[in-house]
């Protein structure tokens, strides 16, 4: 078992050959990766891939068979209390004492950690928009409300690392969007590192700068999601439904920097790749030539398809 200390001080979470065997079967198998301050990282994998198991080991709910988890340089195995104090988390569903109010539940966690003030409780409940429901008993909460209270609970002690297992589970579309926004915001503003699991690549794409794909407990790939590229220069794959595909293709071929144009004269659909700031020019040219445009769509399947290929579709481990 290696005990090498982290060298880069901005590394908040470090997994080092993390392995969990139950009954001889490796559920998580030699997982290693780092997460730095302010990073939002997605942990992606099909059902049964080992996402929840990995997160349980990170927060010390279950023991590890081999390897180590270090949080801000402290091993969760050998210095649990020093390591866990930097972590806030929700593993699977957020569960509270149903017969107590949301406020009383948060007070429970306030009493468990030194230095959490009443002002901090007010601050986090406002952040998750729960200030009006806080006096109600938790048994009267919807899943979405519990999810929000779960986030409040996780942020209470100003952690440096958030571990969130499918945090958008049970939220309505507006709630999902809101959650995404404030996760991004707290990562940026407070420099919190976030590890968030999901089986939906589309969701991960929208909030993470990096995605770690696992399957059957093993690392499949680590990929940066092109947030660094400025959106203007970003090459998009576009599909267009037009009145006459042949005519449209002629116009497109005349323009510079548009790649891999394909047309289907039967469905009158053309697909091509170009930079975002070229789109207005192209649309103007097509209109000027009298090509009818019915639909313009971005084709985002590439990463999704790649994920399917890597993980063998929806096969459950």
């Amino acid at each position: 078992m290696t005990t090498a200390k982290i060298t880069n001080p901005s590394i908040v979470l470090q997994l080092d050959g993390l392995t969990k065997k139950i009954g001889g079967k490796a559920i998580v198998d030699g997982l290693s990766f780092d997460i730095a301050k302010g990073e939002v990282v997605g942990l992606l994998g099909p059902n049964g891939a080992g996402k929840t198991t990995t997160m349980r080991m990170i927060v010390g709910l279950i023991g590890m068979t081999e390897g180590d988890v270090r949080i801000c340089g402290q091993s969760i195995r050998t210095s649990f209390e020093q390591a866990i104090r930097h972590v806030g988390g929700i593993i699977e569903n957020p569960e509270f004492y149903p017969y107590m109010s949301g406020y009383d539940n948060l007070k429970q966690y306030q009493r468990m950690t030194a230095g959490v003030t009443d002002a901090r409780i007010a601050e986090v409940t406002k952040l998750v928009g729960m200030q009006d429901a806080l006096g109600k008993k938790v048994k009267a909460y919807s899943l979405g409300m519990r999810q929000r209270l779960g986030i409040a609970q996780a942020l209470l002690h100003e952690p440096k690392l958030l571990i969130l297992d499918e945090p958008t589970n049970g939220l309505d579309p507006a709630g999902i969007k809101e959650m995404r926004e404030y996760l991004k915001q707290i990562a940026e503003a407070e420099g919190i590192a976030i590890l968030v699991s999901s089986h939906l690549l589309s969701e991960i794409e929208l909030m993470c700068s990096r995605v770690i794909v696992i399957q059957e407990g093993k690392l499949v790939t680590v990929r940066s999601l092109g947030e660094a590229e400025s959106t203007k220069q970003k090459v998009l794959s576009i599909s267009m439904q037009v009145g006459n595909a042949g005519q449209a293709l002629e116009v497109i071929n005349r323009m510079e920097g548009i790649m891999a144009a394909q047309s289907d004269s039967f469905t009158n659909k053309i697909t091509f790749e170009l930079q975002q700031d070229q789109i207005p020019g192209l649309v103007a040219s097509l209109a000027a030539e009298g090509v009818a445009i019915y639909r313009i769509e971005e084709v985002r399947a590439t990463l999704e398809e790649e994920f399917m290929k890597l993980t063998g579709g929806n096969r459950i481990a």
Binding site: L61, I91, F96, Y97, Q108, M112
Partner: protein, 252 residues
């Protein structure tokens, strides 16, 4: 240390914020109310004073039996409810060791049990005073205090055992079942096996210390000190198992 006080407050609130919290005390009040009334109506022989009434009713063979039952009901839930609600996952990811968390749970269970014992004692004296208004009889206050102590010891022993079963089984129902069953069947077992001397080492042969106030010792050669030592050994065993298992347990 301030943190540990916080844990104790948390555990007490988990118990007292439940609607059912007052039910236990209410049951005791109702039972002593009924008993007081019945004694007033029937005027049984040999009972002539407040102390007689109080000493007699808090015995394990009388209304006192309610106390360990109510205490076991609560002790079974202490750890198992955290599993049932799923709150164990939030509880154990704080900067608090599992040992401290479990210690706070156990201490609060013992305190709760003592509140039941003291409530029972107070109710017994109150009901006895209403019915007999003092008076003089066979029993002394020393007998009464002795019975309170026996009741407390008996209750705490079963609370400790049930607490451990809760950790081992993670099931509230199973813990209540095993806790109460062993309370009932334990003394029967001791009776059946009383001709073997080895029986005196059984937990159940030693749980009721009030036998040493009379000569009805369950098995020849047993003494108060012997029983206390046996109880301490069992308690140490139950607690070691509880803490060791809770520390190591994977929370899945």
């Amino acid at each position: 240390m301030r943190n540990f006080t916080g844990l104790l407050i948390n555990e007490w609130l988990k118990l007292s914020k439940k609607k059912s919290f007052f039910v236990a005390y209410a049951i005791l009040a109702v039972v002593f109310g009924i008993m007081g009334y019945a004694f007033y109506e029937i005027q049984p022989d040999g009972l002539t004073s407040t102390v007689d009434f109080a000493t007699g009713t808090i015995m394990l063979q009388a209304a006192g039996q309610l106390v360990p039952v109510l205490a076991v009901l609560a002790a079974a839930g202490s750890v198992t409810q955290e599993y049932r609600y799923g709150t164990i996952k939030f509880l154990l990811i704080r900067a608090q060791s599992r040992h401290k968390i479990l210690a706070s749970k156990y201490i609060v269970m013992v305190v709760y049990t003592l509140t039941l014992v003291l409530t029972t004692a107070a109710l017994a004296v109150a009901a006895g005073y209403i019915v007999y208004g003092g008076g003089s009889g066979e029993s002394t206050w020393t007998d009464f205090l002795g019975n309170i102590a026996s009741l407390a010891v008996y209750s705490i022993v079963f609370v400790t055992m049930t607490f451990m079963i809760g950790i081992l089984t993670k099931s509230n129902g199973a813990s209540i079942g095993i806790g109460i069953f062993s309370m009932m069947a334990g003394s029967l077992l001791v009776m059946l096996l009383s001709r073997y001397t080895i029986t005196k080492y059984l937990l159940f042969a030693n749980t009721d210390l009030s036998v040493y106030r009379s000569d009805a010792v369950p098995i020849e050669g047993m003494t108060l000190v012997f029983s206390i030592v046996i109880l301490l050994v069992y308690m140490a065993l139950f607690l070691s198992v509880s803490f060791a298992v809770f520390k190591k347990r994977d929370i899945a």
